[in-house]
Subunit: 133 residues, 2 copies
Amino acid sequence: MTTMTAAERRQEAKAAFDSYMDACPTHDVLGVIGNKWTSVVLFQLTQGPRRYADLARALPGVSAKMLTQTLRSLERDGFVARSVTPSVPVQVEYALTLLGERLVPLLASVRHFAEHNIAEIRASREHYDAAAD
Amino acid sequence: MTTMTAAERRQEAKAAFDSYMDACPTHDVLGVIGNKWTSVVLFQLTQGPRRYADLARALPGVSAKMLTQTLRSLERDGFVARSVTPSVPVQVEYALTLLGERLVPLLASVRHFAEHNIAEIRASREHYDAAAD
DNA sequence: CTGTATCCTAGGGGATACTG
DNA sequence: CAGTATCCCCTAGGATACAG
């Protein structure tokens, strides 16, 4: 512990930085909304509560597995509430929580930026790809 | 083509939805900022232009491969400009473009939301996990 | 200093079939 | 209706070594 090799110092810095990343709220939230289906599911729920099959119908691209997984994750994070009506057959309804509602304006910001800048971004990509000979 | 099975109809809806998703600007942008290192690299660059080694030092968690890949991707999308000074050894500097600067407030929004709501999110997770017996 | 090249693994995500 | 359970693939990302 008196002296340390450069490799050891790098290792330590990496470990410290990794735990910093894990604790970073921004990174955490980005990890949530960065998932493939969260934004679209959330968008559906801004239109009002929806049942499982409603979502599956509105989002034909999602597999049953991913729909369930996305919903569970959103529920775990407190963005969505799941309520079961014990009829036959059972009815399950998903709705935004207050926390979920607070996420909506953020998604709107992303959307606003995206719609105003996507043309420039895509133009840049084309230019970049064209330059690659 | 006169009649269609339910499976065929589902297939068609899925294909249509998939291409819609591909074209969706919001989803596109989310895909960019959702990558593990984009937000932190971008944050470094908001502090001013940085060289490759500066970034590597500031971000001990990134591998050389991912740093390069992240930078290339950001350059391709037009968020970052790469300029090479042909000295010996060469100097390469990365800086935000105007488009990149426009992305900064959005990241700030994410950060703002994250910092104000992360406690509630994490509390929800703990509660959810505790309920799972 | 600024990267490439290679190899490898974990897990996100899809397809299909089955259940209370 | 509202999911599970399986199997499988593919890519994001890490480690290590090498190169201009």
